[in-house]
């Protein structure tokens, strides 16, 4: 049993719903109790979909348990086929129905009829949403492309894009961006799946030369099967950030048999402004700012690389919630010399963020709330998706335009360089008090942040270390609040290591000199 206030991933049947809702001509019958229909609102409210997801639920109740829930399931399948006439029917069970052991797959297969049926085994008490989505996509690809022949003369410059789904973090715009870049490089995109694909499109997947895997947590298992079965290679570079996009285009050009080009002359690279913005003098103040990164492993790893290698931040923490990619995450954490955090317990993540005292958090909606409590700027880089992650404007994370979006959305929450100085210089200015947010953010964060969070940090620090003279306390308060915690911690560590007691104004400046970067 596991205590969860918030969860990063839903149950695996929600993953199956995401695949069904991504595709055309596919319907999912879910053996599930009344109430599980809540999942519809993820699609209609969060993503503002204009239609309900193609899912029929059996919605059984307690009184049905004494009769035959299997009959209810069979009827739901028949009704769904009659009403929606899908090209393909997926059947599965949610967590409660799994306990009934009605065997939806067996029941559905015995129905007869000419609609192909794919049963899904989604162990709800072991697995989670990404796993459920990946398993569903893999089963669909196997079922549709399984008996297909790979043509003799597949054009080398043809590919499929695999992984984008309904409710995926900015997937809609990523696909537009990456498909555009591929076309600009002379590579034809045959099929995008599962988003927008039909079962027939999946059957035609082997007709392309290679697969572009944008979201490995969804598509890697399917891509691996396509590689094994049809010798179709697949890409491993996630094109998040300008440098990764260069590497990605080099990878696809090699797979497509196209000549190697210098990064600057790659078709599409001219759209990148992020590299120049990161070099412009205004970005000097970003140097070595401490950044904590948490999300699904693929986004977290890619974001950490952009933060460190393209924007000049320093990674002070890196973690991911999907254990399936723990190995990759650990390897990436080693690149930055930080302890990897692989957990789906958001309380642990909160502790890690508090302990590492970052100046910027890149995370999910959960980390956004943690950062808000701790008064640390934050940008969202990963699912679970929220209504704000489906902006009306074009806002990809991938490709060159994606890199521009990252620069804007990660840098804007920060205090501007000159403002940071002014805040430090004129402590008594009535507009620059502790509770004033960055002036350009007033519209976004009008309310003063929760004082107890800041106070809590202060009291624990005081309790854990030597006393400060009143003068030193006062001097400490002249340091802007967003770096004050770090100054306090460093000073106390400095004093403790040298047995200094109490901490004076001089101790504080000695520590500052010692730790200055």
């Amino acid at each position: 049993m596991k205590l969860a206030m918030w969860t990063y991933e839903g149950p695996p049947h929600v993953g199956a719903m995401r695949i069904a809702a991504s595709m055309k001509d596919v319907h999912l019958v879910l053996h599930a109790p009344q109430g599980d229909t809540y999942a519809d609102l993820l699609f209609t409210m969060i993503a503002r979909d204009k239609a309900r997801p193609p899912v029929t639920y059996t919605t059984f109740q307690a009184r049905d348990l004494s009769g035959s829930t299997a009959d209810i399931f069979r009827q739901a399948c028949r009704d769904a086929i009659d009403r929606f006439r899908p090209g393909l029917l997926l059947v599965s069970a949610s967590c409660t129905a799994e306990l009934l052991q009605d065997d939806p797959g067996g029941l559905a297969s015995a129905l007869g009829g000419d609609v192909p049926i794919i049963p899904l085994e989604l162990p709800s008490y072991q697995k989670k949403e990404f796993w459920g989505a990946a398993e569903t996509f893999y089963r669909l690809v196997r079922a549709c492309a399984g008996g297909q022949q790979r043509p003799e003369d597949v054009p080398a410059n043809s590919c499929n894009i695999l992984g984008p789904t309904a409710l995926g973090f900015r997937n809609r715009d990523d696909v537009t961006e990456i498909a555009g870049l591929l076309e600009a490089n002379g590579i034809a995109v045959r099929c995008v799946a599962p988003l927008g694909a039909t079962p027939a499109d999946l059957a035609a997947l082997p007709q392309a030369a290679f697969n572009v895997v944008l979201y490995p947590e969804i598509a890697e298992s399917a891509a691996r099967w396509l590689q094994k079965t049809f010798a179709m290679p697949y890409t491993t570079t996630i094109p998040i950030g300008a440098k990764a996009t260069h590497a990605f285009l080099a990878e696809v050009r090699a797979l497509a048999g196209l000549p190697r080009l210098e990064p600057a002359s790659l078709p599409g690279a001219q759209a990148d402004r992020s590299a120049w913005y990161a070099r412009s003098v205004d970005s000097n103040y970003l140097t070595n700012k401490r950044v904590f990164v948490f999300g699904d492993a693929a986004h977290a790893i890619a974001s950490a690389r952009v933060a460190a290698n393209e924007f000049g931040f320093r990674i002070c923490g890196l973690g991911g919630y999907n254990r399936e990619f723990a190995r990759e995450l650990r390897a990436a954490a080693a690149e930055f010399g930080v302890e990897p955090l692989v957990t789906d317990d958001h309380l642990e993540v909160e502790d890690a963020i508090t302990a590492s005292q970052p100046e910027l958090v890149l995370g999910t909606q959960m980390e956004r709330h943690i950062a808000k409590r701790l008064r640390i700027p934050c940008a969202v880089i990963s699912a679970p998706a929220h209504v704000q992650d489906f902006p009306a404007r074009y806002s990809p994370q991938m490709g060159f335009e994606g890199a521009n979006v990252l620069f804007d959305s990660w840098v804007h929450p920060l205090m501007m360089g000159l403002e940071e100085h002014l805040l430090a210089m004129f402590r008594d200015d009535f507009e620059f008090h502790d509770n004033a947010a960055a002036s350009h953010l007033a519209a976004h964060s009008p309310a003063p942040a929760a004082p107890q969070a800041a106070a809590a940090g202060t009291t624990t620090a005081t309790a854990s270390a030597g006393a400060w003279t009143p003068d030193a306390e006062k001097e400490l308060c002249k340091i802007p609040f967003f770096v004050r915690g770090k100054a306090r911690r460093n000073t106390e560590r400095f004093a403790a290591e040298r047995g200094i007691h109490p901490i004076t104004v001089d101790t504080m400046y000695d520590a500052k000199a010692h730790f200055s970067r």
């Binding site: 049993m1 596991k2 205590l3 969860a4 206030m5 918030w6 969860t7 991933e9 839903g10 149950p11 049947h13 929600v14 109790p33 009344q34 109430g35 599980d36 229909t37 809540y38 999942a39 519809d40 609102l41 993820l42 209609t44 409210m45 969060i46 503002r48 979909d49 204009k50 239609a51 309900r52 029929t56 639920y57 059996t58 919605t59 059984f60 109740q61 307690a62 348990l65 209810i72 009827q75 739901a76 009704d79 009403r83 949610s94 967590c95 409660t96 306990l99 009934l100 162990p123 709800s124 008490y125 072991q126 989670k128 309380l347 909606q365 959960m366 709330h369 808000k372 929220h386 209504v387």
Partner: protein, 432 residues
């Protein structure tokens, strides 16, 4: 589906066929219950799906640490590799260490915990012995196989009533008002009760867990919400008699409801009229403001909170709207008999609807406004229909005189918004 008045319905609605029900489960009511009882913590014993539901339904409230969580059952619990009770104790231990401010821990049963017949009542009793008196532990079921949406609150209140048995020494309350309402609404009713000369009244649930009203045979109670069948039964089992009334929605409903209380406590007509005259007038004026928007409009209500019969009655009697169909996930026939009696003849009332067929009926009837859940609203909007999220009736203060105008406004807003957006170009021309 069950149709209460089959003679009023056409052949389409009279069909009795099982199908998909598009309703929340009872766990969803935790979203307002945990805000209402401010020292209580709701721990769902369930699956990842339960946690995901609460998170999705409460997505807007994550700004503070919530006072609800899920103890997620895992493979090792179900396979018998771990003792469920030991596991639950460990989770509770972690929780009370983290939140020492909690005075009442509520274990909430879910579909999976019900199906495996995990005895939460016993677990609660065991934990109560360990944690009392600092923290009391109780339990109820909010599972989807047994409850929908507001029935979770019903079961919680019923468990509070059953648990309050120990207070024999204290003087019982004379009047208990059962049903979660906004604090501001309770305060308004408190003032009105005092002006009527009624003292010793109490609200259920209380704002603090140690203030559960004492109930005795002389206590009278009235329901503020129509979905409280189990709560009414639990109260009646302790002796009190129920004051029957329609529910305090709108000016008419509020007046009838207060009047029933006044009659039960022997308040004179003259005094009653004098006390309610001013707020009644205010309520009428506030509703009148929106009446032109709603009069003659045809409204279709999908099942959601069980408030639907009361809402339909309000729409008909106070805004002049017409009702195409009233759906409700469940009808406590005795409790809503008064509401249904006021509805005009010919209004189909449905319980247990197949959502697909109901959507078909709704489209065929081409209503001016559809009151429905979050899963259906945007798809209907995309088809060109105006919709009102029914979940707002469970969250927003709508009871009583001072909220009667707000209630009308909730129905009128989607129509006003459409007019604003549709008429915008014309407005600009007029200005230039």
């Amino acid at each position: 589906m069950t149709v209460l008045r089959p003679h009023d319905c056409d052949a389409g609605t009279a069909q009795r066929q099982r199908g998909q029900r598009e309703v929340f489960c009872g766990l969803t009511s935790i979203i307002w219950l945990h805000r209402k009882v401010q020292d209580a913590f709701f721990l769902v014993v369930g699956s990842r799906t339960c946690a995901h539901l609460l998170q999705s339904a409460a997505g807007v409230m994550v700004f503070s640490e919530p006072r609800f969580a899920t103890a997620i059952m895992e493979e090792r619990d179900l396979a018998g590799m771990a003792d469920m009770n030991d596991e639950l104790d460990a989770v509770v231990e972690r929780l009370v260490t983290r939140r020492p401010d909690i005075r009442m821990l509520v274990l909430v049963g879910s579909c999976p915990s019900e199906v495996i017949k995990f005895d939460l009542a016993r677990a609660a009793a065991r934990l109560d012995r360990r944690l009392a008196p600092d923290c009391r532990v109780t339990s109820y079921s909010g599972s989807g196989i047994e409850t929908t949406f507001t029935q979770g609150e019903d079961n919680f209140l019923a468990s509070l009533v059953e648990q309050s048995a120990g207070h024999d020494g204290q003087q019982p309350a004379r009047l208990v008002v059962a049903g979660c309402m906004a604090d501001v609404v309770e305060d308004q009713f408190s003032r009105l009760f005092e002006q009527l000369g009624i003292e010793d009244f109490a609200f259920l649930p209380p704002r603090r867990s140690n203030a559960v009203p004492v109930i005795g045979p002389q206590t009278r109670f009235i329901l503020a919400q129509p979905y409280l069948g189990a709560t009414a039964a639990a109260l009646q089992a302790r002796g009190p008699r129920r004051i029957d009334s329609i529910f305090p929605l709108g000016e008419v409903g509020t007046t009838a409801w207060l009047s029933a209380v006044a009659d039960a406590f022997g308040v004179s007509r003259a005094r009653f009229e004098q006390v309610v005259a001013a707020p009644r007038q205010r309520a009428r004026e506030a509703i009148a403001h929106y009446r032109p928007r709603l009069e003659g409009r045809r409204v279709f209500l999908f099942p959601d909170s069980q408030l639907e019969p009361s809402l339909a009655r309000f729409l008909v009697t106070e805004t002049g709207a017409r009702i195409v169909e009233v759906g409700s996930p469940y009808l406590h026939r005795e409790l809503v008999a008064g509401e249904l009696a006021i509805l005009p003849p010919g209004v189909p009332v449905s319980e247990v609807a197949d959502v697909e067929r109901q959507v078909d009926r709704c489209r065929a009837s081409d209503p001016d406004l559809i009151v429905c859940g979050l899963g259906l609203a945007n798809p209907f909007e995309a088809e060109g229909y105006a919709t009102k999220w029914s979940i707002e009736f469970a969250f927003a203060p709508i009871h009583g005189y001072e909220q009667a105008g707000d209630l009308a406004e909730l129905f009128a807003r989607p129509l006003i918004r459409r007019a604003v957006l549709d008429d915008a170009p014309a407005t600009r021309e007029a200005l230039s």
